[in-house]
């Protein structure tokens, strides 16, 4: 039954100043959602409000600033129980019979624990350090650290590190985003920026485009349940291999790249026929248990002669500490935990908005658990899922993370305006689309420059905050929870985060 958009009014209203509009029609050419059109008879620009996703492309390109997008003032009858959004969603599902789809992280109002954690600084008894005058070290190594220290026959320390490590100039990596879910130019931007910054980006589950092999030293290659694009050269190409068990935005479910996004290039990279849907199953069908995971970890290590660290990425779920402990004992070198606010190119919004737990609490629980079991040095811990700023990074490291993954922040740097419409393949910013005309809008030179700027700026801020604490090396910050205090948190939250309340000494 084709019900179209029955009962639904536009969410946004395109407001145009006719006085300022010069009829250049750039908005019309730039909008992939077909919002703007020119009425020749009236000599004026008009808008189809119902097509607008509020991506701000037209607002940004309008040369006379004649445009703004307003949230429609049109409202259903006031109802605190049935909000407009909830009512609209019922109409939508009654219209379509489908699951609600969304993109990027959940927009719902859940507590952001980063904002309830405050950082310490030195006063009197301990000098703060000026990062402009003193060395300030952010270099980070990811991988197993618990190698047994031994001596050779002459009694000299054997100083070869046998566990492979990923070296980062700052404790920040770009999260997994597949080629397919984002564009060639977005990948090119990430790869170039990671190389210039001395950090890593992550291929996601879509394989590695042949053009990007030269950036391998700064690439994490991902192996996910669909095994797209996985072959021997791919595994050897990166600085490390990530097994994706879960994703914060959609714990417990798989992924679906629609056939219309699978053009010749994506098809070759993913090693699937052109135009075919790329379905990632919910579980890995060779991993139904922790012992199966161990087999995959060691299969990948065998395939790469034990030269690549293996990351196991999971979404933050209720039993995350115990699961992490199991992974730490499975041979994995690094555990990546993705919080429930993490982004995605497409996910059922009910799952995205309701399944999983916040990354801050997951990190608190995992780091404490691994230490209680004495196996914290068995693995490195990387966290992602809504790291908004440099101070979120500092807080994550002090809670116990070795490094963070940033996805949404990286996309914002590339121009993303968080309209949450990635799944439509119509990204007006050339990021989450395979439409060649749109992809061209993202120039990788500018994209890479903006990513380098963002991470460099964060690194400066991290160094500034560290210096204020009297810390000049990132390892002295890692797990240093006494450098944190909570505000507006209850005792249970403080206990799980393992931090004191503001005003408490010790």
């Amino acid at each position: 039954m084709e019900n179209g958009k029955i009962y639904l009014s536009p969410e946004y209203e395109v407001v145009r100043s006719d006085e300022k509009c010069i009829r250049c029609r750039v908005c019309e050419r730039q909008c992939a959602d077909d919002v703007h059109y020119y009425d020749a008879d009236a000599d004026r620009m008009c808008a189809l409000d119902e097509n607008c996703v509020n991506c701000h492309r037209c607002v940004s390109v309008c040369p006379t600033h004649a445009l703004k997008i307003k949230v429609s003032e049109n409202r259903f009858r006031e109802n605190d129980n049935w909000s407009d959004t909830k009512v609209r969603e019922v109409y939508l599902q009654a219209n379509s019979g489908g699951v609600m789809l969304g993109a990027m992280g959940t927009p719902l109002k859940y507590p952001t624990y980063w904002d309830k954690i405050l950082i310490n600084a030195s006063q009197v008894t301990n000098p703060s350090i000026d990062p402009l005058r003193e060395p300030m070290e952010t270099r980070t190594f990811l991988g197993k650290k618990n190698q047994k220290t031994v001596r050779d026959a002459d009694g000299r320390l054997v100083t070869k590190f046998t566990s492979p490590q990923i070296e980062l100039d700052a404790p920040i990596m770009f999260s997994a985003m597949s080629y397919g879910s984002i564009s060639y130019n977005a990948h090119a931007s990430l790869a170039r920026a990671a190389t210039e910054l001395g950090i890593c980006y992550n291929t996601g589950e879509g394989g590695l485009h042949e053009d990007f092999y030269p950036y391998g030293a700064n690439t994490i290659v991902q192996v996910a349940s669909g095994r797209f694009g996985v072959h021997a050269d791919y595994l050897m190409a990166g600085a490390g291999i990530e097994i994706k068990m879960g994703q914060g935005a959609k714990p417990g479910i798989g992924g679906h790249l629609p056939g219309r996004k699978v053009g010749p290039d994506v098809s070759r990279t993913r090693m699937i026929p052109e135009g075919s849907d790329a379905i990632s199953p919910a579980p890995h069908h060779d991993i139904y248990s922790i012992e199966d995971l161990r087999q995959l970890v060691y299969s990948l290590k065998e395939a790469t002669a034990y030269r690549k660290p293996v990351i196991v990425k999971i979404s933050a779920v209720h039993n995350v500490a115990a699961i992490a402990s199991g992974i730490a004992r499975s041979g994995a070198d690094i555990i990546a935990i993705d919080g429930f606010k993490g982004g995605t190119g497409a996910a059922p919004s009910r799952i995205r908005d309701n399944v999983g737990i916040p990354i801050e609490l997951a990190l608190g629980a995992v780091d404490s658990r691994l230490r209680e079991e004495g196996i914290r040095d068995e693995v490195s811990v990387v966290v992602g899922g809504s790291i908004h700023s440099s101070t979120d990074v500092v807080k994550a490291i002090a809670l116990g993370a070795d490094a963070v993954y940033i996805g949404t922040a990286a996309l914002l740097a590339l121009g993303c305006h968080l309209c949450r419409s990635c799944h439509k393949n119509n990204c007006n910013w050339g990021i989450a689309t395979q439409n060649p005309t749109l992809v061209k809008r993202l120039n990788p030179d500018y994209g890479a420059r903006r990513l380098v700027n963002l991470v460099s700026a964060w690194k400066h801020e991290i160094m500034e905050v560290m210096g204020g604490m009297g810390i000049n090396s990132i390892e002295a910050l890692r797990g240093n929870r006494l450098m944190l205090r909570g505000v507006d948190l209850n005792e249970k939250e403080l206990e799980i985060l393992g931090i004191k309340y503001a005003g408490e000494s010790i």
Binding site: N126, P127, Q147, R371, R376, G470, I506
Partner: protein, 370 residues
């Protein structure tokens, strides 16, 4: 402000502190009484505030040199019997008695202070499958845990002893009558805790087995270090920076088998920018230590003197945020926060210098024939 009737103790609260430290070491094994070290630390009176002082002497119990000497504060005398029962259960007891002290006006709140010369029960040690030193260390932790706040083992090495109290160091020296002991090495500490009353167990030196640390500074990496060593069974009950430094050195040298030079390169690691300029083998060496023991890098200002059987280690932080002067005269080595504290007791010196940031100075007793 309403005064606290029961001010919190360390263990409930962490006390950052400034301080003075001093050390004397006779490489030829010659011994001296505690008089000079008391004079040396007394000169730096203004670097402490009367809330903690202490000494460690090495070679002071030659008659019991094969036995472990436990020094215990009984803050609550009711636990003494239980504690001694624990000791008898795990050790052969050769001698026990109250440590002799002088009654002085400056020290009024003294707990009972006892000393036990002990050796692990052969059978218990055997069945524990631990090496002897690990066995003793675990028993020390067990006592401090079991009688937390009531009894505290503050010295547990062989042929060495720690003497400390909640007072100015010169008064602590008089209180313990250190002029009656004779050792080849001494360290001393005057404490300046900044925000709460100090207490007896929180004074320096901080000691485990024969390691003792006196420390001037406040380390900003404290919780990163603490949470790492706690994984290896070191309960940081006292929450002083110095406690964690002692455990780090114990862990690295005794459990991981590093030399003191290597352990120093872990806690005061060279910067990456320095490491990059090194020849390849050195680069690999320092890189290994930094990667492997990343969580034991100490940040923030510190200068320490670590005493151990037959040796002494002097080390400052990697930015040199605390003063430290060392000197030599004949076969005697000196170290102190201020040069004046050395000149006072040995005006003529062959050589005086300030070690570089992160540079470890290690002195040891001469081996036979040296």
């Amino acid at each position: 402000m309403i005064p606290l009737r029961h001010p919190p103790l360390e263990g409930q609260i962490r006390i950052p502190s400034g301080c003075a430290i001093s050390g004397v070491f006779h490489k030829d094994g010659k011994t001296e009484s505690g008089r000079r070290i008391i004079d040396s630390i007394a000169l730096m009176h203004d670097r402490s505030n009367g809330l903690g002082g202490g000494f460690a002497g090495y070679g002071i119990y030659p008659e019991y040199k094969e036995l472990y000497a436990l020094h215990i504060f009984y803050l609550d005398q009711n636990v003494k019997q239980d504690c001694e029962e624990f000791i008898r259960e795990h050790f052969d007891l050769a001698n026990a008695g109250e440590i002799k002290t002088r009654n002085i006006a400056e020290i009024r709140d003294a707990p009972k202070i006892w000393r036990y010369f002990i050796f692990p029960h052969a059978y218990k040690l055997d069945s524990s499958e631990l090496d002897e030193r690990e066995y003793v260390a675990e028993c020390v932790f067990a006592i401090n845990r079991r009688f937390e706040g009531k009894a505290a083992v503050f010295s547990s090495g062989k042929n060495m002893g720690v003497f400390k109290a909640n007072a100015f160091p010169e008064d602590v020296g008089r209180f313990y009558m250190l002029e009656d002991y004779s050792g080849y090495a001494w360290t001393a500490h005057g404490r300046y805790p900044t925000n709460t009353p100090g207490w007896w167990g929180g004074a320096h030196p901080f000691s485990l087995l024969d390691y003792s640390v006196v420390h001037n500074g406040e380390i900003s990496s404290y919780d990163a270090n603490r949470r790492n060593v706690e994984m290896f069974g070191y309960d940081c009950k006292l929450r002083t920076d110095t406690e964690v430094i002692t455990y780090i050195f114990d862990y690295l040298t005794r459990r991981e088998g590093l030399t003191f030079e290597e352990a120093s390169a872990v806690v005061a690691a060279p910067f990456w920018s320095t490491i990059e300029l090194m020849p390849d083998d050195e680069k690999e060496f320092y890189t290994y230590l930094r990667k492997r023991y990343h969580a034991l890098l100490i940040n923030g200002p510190f200068s320490i003197i670590l005493g151990f059987t037959g040796g002494m280690l002097v080390l400052g932080d990697r930015l040199k945020l605390r003063s430290m002067v060392v000197a030599e005269h004949g076969d005697t080595f000196y170290a102190a926060s201020e040069e004046s504290a050395i000149r006072l007791i040995q005006p003529e010196l062959d050589r005086t210098w300030a070690p570089d940031a992160g540079e470890a100075i290690i002195v040891k007793l001469y081996k036979e024939g040296e």
